[in-house]
């Protein structure tokens, strides 16, 4: 009671001195110039995409000034048979590529995590090659390969190539996930009487699962988005969505292309955010 009265009495006449709290010297993100730099960077990163998305809804062919909201270009893109076919091709390829590359990549990631063998460093370098070499080199080599084997270019050749560049990505993700695995979990399981097989399915596999899901979603996105390698391995009748957009883009900038692009952005972002959520959720659970 007393103390309350006292503080009230002293506070009243000398109203609290309002002053700007000087910032901490390393608190760059609350400094004005840094905020301007960040805002500028974010604008640079987002303006092109947002403009593209916004003008897919613009009721104008010239698509530079806003003429009102419309969905007609989505309708047009949807009814565009060639675009529709390309989309179905892309989905078929991405699905098969994801299934195969996730299976093989997961096995590979697990084997590299688990076993030590002669020449491992070299092998490791080799499976990273598809990630680091320029896409154009891989694209033309696939073209030369299929030509030399007399295999006609089409859905099959695209899928085979997508699997080849997706396997290393899946393996890397799965292996990174396993590097946080404590081998004593397996030892505890064996100690409690489980055999190797039971231990794998009940202990190792559940731990590995978020990595597999993330790897699969990555493989799916990579396949969905790939342009360069697909460009060299596709033939007539096997046009994919990005290839179709490419040919439309070369022709002209139309709201229809914007609508198709927006659809692809939405699909990719949904998959990516799902993958990130799964990863961060399992990371949080593991952290506890």
């Amino acid at each position: 009671m007393n103390a309350k009265l006292e503080t009230a009495a002293t506070a009243a006449p000398t109203a609290p001195i309002k002053r700007r709290e000087r910032r901490n010297p390393l608190d760059y993100s609350s400094m004005r110039w840094m905020q301007i730099v960040l805002a500028g960077n974010f604008m640079f990163l987002y303006f092109p995409i947002l403009a593209l998305v916004a003008f897919s809804f613009n009721d104008s062919k010239r698509n530079i000034t806003w003429q009102g909201f419309t969905l007609k270009y989505y309708e047009k893109a949807w009814n565009n048979i060639a675009l529709h076919d390309a989309f179905m091709n892309t989905m078929t390829i991405a699905t098969i590529s994801t299934l195969v590359s996730t299976t093989f990549g997961t096995m590979l990631g697990l084997a590299i995590y688990r076993y030590k063998f002669p020449g491992k460093a070299l092998y490791d370098g080799w499976i990273h090659l598809p990630i680091v070499i320029p896409e154009i080199c891989m694209g033309v080599s696939m073209l030369a390969f299929f030509a030399a084997m007399n295999i006609p270019l089409g859905i099959f050749t695209i899928t085979v190539s997508h699997i080849a560049f997706s396997i290393p990505f899946v393996a890397v993700v799965v292996r990174a996930r396993m590097s946080g695995f404590d081998p004593s979990f397996e030892e505890a399981s064996t100690d409690l009487g489980a055999n190797q097989w039971q231990t794998f399915w009940n202990v190792t596999f559940p731990y590995m699962m978020p990595g597999v899901v993330a790897g699969a979603l990555l493989a799916f996105t990579l396949s969905l988005d790939d342009f360069v390698i697909t460009f060299f391995t596709s033939g007539p009748g096997s046009t994919t969505f990005p290839i179709k957009i490419y040919s439309m883009v070369r022709f002209s900038v139309t709201p229809e292309v914007n609508a198709a692009s927006t659809a692809l952005i939405v699909i990719t972002l949904t998959l990516t955010i799902t993958a990130m959520t799964i990863q961060s959720r399992s990371a949080r659970r593991q952290g506890k």
Binding site: P16, I17, R22, R23, N24, P25, L26
Partner: protein, 363 residues
Amino acid sequence: MTEARKPIIRIRNITKRFGSVVACDNVDFDIYPGEFFALLGPSGCGKTTLLRMLAGFESASEGEIEIDGQPMLDVPPNKRPVNMVFQSYAVFPHMTVLDNVAYGLKVTGVPKAEARARAEEALGLVHLEGYGQRMPDQLSGGQRQRVALARALVKKPKVLLLDEPLSALDAKLRDAMRLELVRLQHTVGITFVIVTHDQDEALSMADRAAVMERGKVMQIAGPGDLYEHPNSRFVADFIGKVNVFEGKVSGVSGGRLAVEVGGMGRIEVPHDGVAQGDVGIAVRPEKTRLSKDRPASGLIVLKGKVTDVAYYGNESHILLDTDAGVQVTTTVQNEKRSTDAAMTIGDDMWISWSPEDTLVLNG
């Protein structure tokens, strides 16, 4: 006597909030030139925040800090006449030891040759002659700390700030370093402000210490006063071991306080402050005596049953359940080399101490 001098640091009504958390709550005291001053408290009490405000890495939400008569409100860390030894030492890993020590001189425009000479001299001060060309990763933790010390001292600051300087060292090195820091402070004559959570460290090194708890300064005093005259339960308990009994004041007369304590009856203790209502009656374990028979009058006595005897070599700690309903710890010096303990668990003993050794704790 120190109060007569002009303070080197004036901390005036400093409050620091992080969102809704109050790290420092209306802190207000002075530090005098040449003092070895400790900020002591449990983790999260605001002592490090206060030190960082002195260095300029945090700014106060309210209040004012003056160093050497200059208000520090708008002075960035690189313009303050203080230097800091970081808890992690922060010795730059990409520079040699000599470059580390000379860094603070070079960046403020001291000519290269002079900076070098002064850096060598500072390395001598911390007994690291000849280590100048080594890289920090070739040094032990203790040596790295000396580099950090030399690097700060070479700037000849008005105040040297040390953030938990001994916490990363092992026990043996820590004892040696305590003496070393005190020696160093005598040599250079600079005011040292040290942050520590270790009461032994504060008591053995500091001239004065401020004990902090939840952002508030509980007591500022010399080591002896903090130990023998703590002003609160928190300080008594945080610094050393203490046995506390709950009592009720029943009378005051001529510098003596009469207190009613359960299991002890009415006791009289010397006390020169004001006290009323519920108070804590406390005594340090080493101030108590144990005996099989009831001691002579004039002492405060209490009956108890031994529940545990912990042997520490030079002394033993005896735990007793007392009639006061409180568990009491007493220490017994093992002055004779006899292995058969004078007492065993289950023995009934009398605990006694002089009224002069009794602490009266308000609140």
